[in-house]
Subunit: 426 residues, 2 copies
């Protein structure tokens, strides 16, 4: 059992390593002094200038990795990063911006980034780094729309019950940089975008609102959404975005270097290496956390009772991100609540380890990435007079696991590819 | 797609056939004129009398199957069945009782059944049929406890927040027939119990409160639960139940002839036969229906996007029984609500069929067993001006699917092994 607890940590660490911006970039890109290999081979002697642009919470780590890899071959650039992450690098400017609510600083940085792209010529190589938060960190409303007006439109859409997809369609057609427009501006330069995905399914057009990716949605889609929800907007601001057949996107290459899916792949490989049969349920997991936990427990019970869908030693994995409807007044996060609810559902079902952690290292408003338990944890809790159901009822998983020393603390990991959940049945 | 819709029905039909009391009994028991084969071989020439006893909603169908199989070899017996199911058979008395709230008729029948068991000698064979509802249909409080008092205790326990497990422990130790006591009374007769399981995990001691199964719980467990919840009871009524090593249970054989697990096995076999790769998630599925639906949809999305945990054509199966927290004023059932919620979660994700049905044929307070949709159903609904989210919000899945002619109507099937859910990805 001690082993299984250690295994859970090892498996989580493997997924964190896969999601680490630096390690992920280093795996995705090779440089031998002349050729840069990233999906394709690029002969760097063909380029006069190499610049790094982009935005996102992992922006600094990704730019730093590129600086380490390419050294003096990088001439400069600008990346929008959150406050606190804007520690200077040697060549690429780190531009501090606001997140999650965009501000003028982000807009100024976005303008600078777009300018770099526009000024790049056929002998320029742009390396673009995109990660979680890029959309808010790199705002650039299409004139005459202002940032304040754009935020107002977003708020109206939200309160009108628009879906996240509808919001994204509108945003792209009112922005000067999203929906492939950054990449189109870069023509005739070559652009390679390195993308750390924080969205389920890794849809390139969705991550950071796809500044380097052709937009599948049309201007009239945005118009009909705005009309449907009766939202006022300056007509001149609404415009078309580049489509997949746009020749100005011919020199663009988008590469996903990290994602929940890849983190789960790494977790599954590690689990196999440790001797577990693995079932990766889904990287699209969503829903109310405690109910999602019951379903995971149900799959574990089937393994325990009937040896299917796989036999022990088994590792059931899932990713994605669940939600918590707060009803109590406690402290916790979706990962900690998942573990508590699953532990209750599996109580008395024999040997198991339940683990859930956020790859960003921060689960809800807590200093823990998540929590983990084994089949002795609830026994210990009850012996200490703790009522697990009461803690769950009060959304107070943090204080429950704190008392049991079952919290996982990694600190900020500098990445975010959503969550990793697992149930080990040794 | 039309094929996939038909496949879903075929797969459900296969699971219903596996759960059908008559067919299930016929598969479990063979008779060649001398030897009755049921888990073991019984030489019927060794017995002077064969009687059928038991209780449950499928009691009549099971007794009838035994009559058909053994004909004149059956001398009589008594089975407690619900009102309406008490259509007479040739040899075995059908005794009408109340369900789900037990009444004096049930008690009278239980007394008769226990008497048959007590009067049986070493040359008697008792065939006992147990199915869903047996516990309520065959009540027999241990004197001096009365039926009214016993129901009062059950109500108190319920309102005190006792778990279903605690309720069962108390019930057995205050009953004269549950927790293996019927089987013990039958000694030295031979007893074969045919059991149609309606509980997750098919725990023999739980199904119908296990009248023919040794009780793993002790008298002191029941006492401490009653004390913990401060429930008053006549001390003389509390007594010990037979334990697994009780020699009076040596001639007892319990056979599960039907269960959710076996129904899912049949469904999986049929799905394979139709060319699908199958993933049976769990027969223990539980939780809030619309959230459970999201998790099923998440697994389907992983199959669609990444070809795992299995590749198309894929059939994702699950069983068990979910719950619905009613918030709206519509009409529906857990199976119909599952299909509606899963359809919304999979909208726009390409070709699929979603199916959910209750094996009893009655989903919630409706005349449908469940519903099924394919990827065109929501398109059709929206074209008709129906808002699926609004119907889900109002717990009104029945009226939604009624308009779309997507309800599954089987009528009462005469069995109940919980639900069968599936997502087909052709």
């Amino acid at each position: 059992m001690k082993n299984a607890r250690k295994h859970a940590l090892d498996i989580f660490r493997a997924s964190l390593a896969a999601a680490d911006p630096d390690q992920a970039l280093m795996r995705a890109v090779k440089f031998d002094g002349r050729f840069l290999t990233a999906g394709r081979r690029y002969d760097l002697t063909r380029f006069d200038r190499v610049q790094v642009i982009g935005a996102g919470k992992a922006g600094r780590a990704m730019a730093q990795a590129l600086e380490r890899l390419l050294g003096r071959r990088i001439h400069g650039g600008c990346v929008n990063v959150p406050d606190g992450g804007a520690v200077p690098l040697r060549r690429v400017t780190m531009h501090a911006s606001s997140h999650p609510v965009p501000d003028e600083r982000g807009e100024a940085g976005a303008r600078r980034i777009l300018q770099i792209a526009e000024q790049a010529g056929p002998r320029d190589l742009l390396l673009c780094v995109i990660s979680g938060g890029a959309s808010a960190l790199m705002p650039l409303p299409f004139p005459p729309l202002t940032l304040v007006e754009k935020q107002e439109i977003t708020r109206h859409l939200l309160s009108s019950g628009a879906t996240i997809h509808e919001m994204n369609v509108v945003r792209k057609h009112l922005s000067a940089i999203k929906g492939g427009q950054l990449a189109k501006s870069a023509w005739p330069a070559t652009l390679i975008a390195f993308i750390l995905s924080d969205v389920p399914g890794d849809d390139l057009a969705t991550i950071g609102s796809g500044p380097t990716v052709a937009d599948p949605s049309a201007q009239e889609d945005a118009l009909s959404i705005l009309k449907h929800y009766k939202i006022a907007f300056p007509a001149e601001a609404l415009h078309e975005t580049p489509k997949p057949d746009d020749p100005a996107l011919a020199r663009v290459k988008n590469i996903i270097i990290g994602s929940n899916r890849l983190a789960l792949d790494a977790a599954a490989r590690k689990a196999k290496e440790l001797g577990y049969r693995t079932l990766m349920l889904s990287s699209f997991m969503e829903g109310e956390t405690r109910e999602v936990a019951k379903v995971h427990a149900a799959v574990a019970k089937e393994v325990i009772s009937n040896g299917r869908p796989l036999r022990r030693p088994a590792c059931i994995l899932s990713g994605g991100e669940t939600t918590v409807t707060l009803r109590g007044k406690g402290k916790g996060g979706r990962n900690q609540e998942f573990v508590l609810a699953a532990a209750l559902a599996l109580e008395g079902c024999g040997e198991h380890v339940i683990f859930s952690g956020g790859t960003d290292g921060i689960d809800g408003p807590t200093d823990a990435a998540g929590a983990y338990v084994d089949s002795s944890t609830l026994v210990r809790a009850r012996a200490m007079g703790l009522d697990p159901r009461q803690y769950l009822h009060n959304n107070d998983s943090y204080h429950f696991f704190e008392k049991l020393e079952a919290l996982i603390k990694t600190g900020h990991t500098g990445t975010n590819v959503m969550d990793v959940r697992m149930i080990l049945l040794p």
